[in-house]
């Protein structure tokens, strides 16, 4: 078991086998001690840390007073993948439906017959000119351009 732990420290063990080693490290003081020793050797050789023998004990003693964490929303990586797929599928259908709707609306608009500009019709319609001239006092201020247009036409 300690040889497998040594390989795990080096990242040379498949993640599927890690569970077994993890359980051994929890249940066996000897394996847990090896976990510490192997990391101390690495840190000393690579100058990545200083050694304080009772630091882990101090931290774990304080953690013992902390309430035990239960985070049910935490899910394993494999479960995350299975959760992601249905969500992705739902969004995919929504996007596909939106694109299809936009396509058909666009097709409908493009196939509309061309219409003559309404302003040209109004210019040629004498009845409309008279109507606008008669009612321009009721028009809002922002519509004063009607007055200029009608007055120009009337003057012709």
């Amino acid at each position: 078991m300690k040889q497998q732990l040594s390989a795990l420290v080096d990242g040379e063990v498949d993640i599927e086998r890690c569970e077994h080693i993890f359980l051994a490290a929890k249940s066996s003081g000897e394996v847990a001690q090896a976990w510490r020793d192997y990391h101390v050797i690495r840190d000393v050789l690579r100058e990545e840390g200083w050694v304080q023998s009772d630091m882990t004990s101090r931290i774990m003693a304080q953690l013992a007073d902390e309430p035990t964490m239960l985070a049910p929303q935490a899910v394993a990586a494999s479960e995350k993948i299975s959760h992601i797929r249905p969500r992705f599928s739902k969004y995919t259908w929504s996007i596909a439906a939106s694109v299809a709707a936009a396509f058909f609306v666009g097709l409908f608009v493009v196939n509309q017959p061309e219409v003559t500009a309404p302003a040209q019709i109004a210019d040629n319609d004498a009845d409309t000119d008279q109507y606008v001239l008669a009612h321009h006092n009721y028009a809002p201020n922002s519509a004063t351009y009607y007055m200029h247009n009608v007055a120009y036409n009337a003057g012709e």
Binding site: K2, Q3, S6, A7, L8, D10, G11, E12, V13, I15, C18, E19, F22, A25, K26, G29, A32, Q33, A34, W35, R36, D37, Y38, H39, V40, I41, R42, D43, V44, L45, R46, E47, E48, G49, W50, V51, Q52, S53, D54, M55, T56, S57, R58, I59, M60, A61, Q62, L63, A64, E66, T68, M69, L70, A71, Q73, A74, A76, A77
Partner: protein
């Protein structure tokens, strides 16, 4: 300094030539360039796999398993202490901040989603805790410019942080380093070669097997035996009383 001492010790034993710039076996010579490529490749693979195991430990801790978090503490508290000693010179204060950082990390662990590596997240908590500590003490961080969040985000195991040497490096660390050096120097050659290529050069088992011309299983066995031999010498220095073990 310790790293140099290790290399010097190994050089004296005839193992490492020219500070690991070239390592020669009867049929293989690793040049510095190809060696570095292999090292980077191996280090990337190792970090990825270590991240996966870290993530597994985090998930167990999130489900209430404090011993899983204890394995993370054992793995990272020395590195975190090393990092924070760039901001806080007093070693006793560093230890307090390291302890507080881990407690904060545990309390916030439910929010850790694994978007970054655990150690990146932990180091960020550590740096913020150190900054807050210094502010609360009315002190200006001495070397704040040296350690910023960006450093942590770019920090991986084995990078330039190792070159830092504080004035208050503990006597215990020096004693342990000396013990490790002596133990490595006394190893049989094939064990010394395997453990050195692994720990100092960062080679994967496959690369070590190619260099040493032996099966990967033999590499695994040699590295394990080397570690056990060194650990046997270390344990009298490291062991804490039974009742203080977590």
């Amino acid at each position: 300094m310790l790293h140099t001492a290790n290399l010097e010790a190994l050089t004296r034993t005839g193992f490492v030539e020219n500070n690991t710039k070239a390592y020669t076996t009867p049929n293989h010579k690793i040049t510095q360039g190809s060696h570095r490529d292999m090292t980077v490749q191996a280090a990337n693979a190792k970090q990825q796999e270590n991240k996966e195991f870290d993530q597994m430990l985090v998930e167990r801790a999130q489900q209430g398993d404090k011993r899983a978090f204890g394995l993370l503490v054992e793995k990272y508290h020395r590195k975190l202490g090393r990092l924070l000693s760039r901001m806080i010179r007093d070693q006793a204060e560093v230890e307090d901040v390291v302890q507080e950082s881990f407690i904060k990390a545990y309390r916030a662990l439910h929010s850790f989603r694994g978007d970054s590596a655990f150690y990146t997240w932990l180091y960020r908590i550590g740096i913020n805790t150190a900054k807050n500590y210094l502010v609360s003490m009315g002190r200006k961080p001495q070397v704040m410019q040296d350690v910023e969040i960006e450093d942590v985000e770019n920090f991986d195991e084995g990078n330039d942080m190792r070159t830092m040497e504080t004035p208050e490096t503990s006597l215990m660390t020096k004693e342990i380093a000396q013990t490790v050096n002596d133990a490595i120097a006394a190893l049989p050659e094939e064990l010394r070669t395997a453990i050195t290529l692994r720990e100092l050069e960062g080679l994967s088992y496959e690369d070590i097997a190619n260099v040493m011309q032996c099966p990967i299983g033999t590499v695994r066995s040699r590295i394990f035996r080397a570690r056990e031999t060194i650990a046997t010498k270390l344990r009298p220095l490291l062991d804490t009383p039974q009742h203080k073990r977590w």
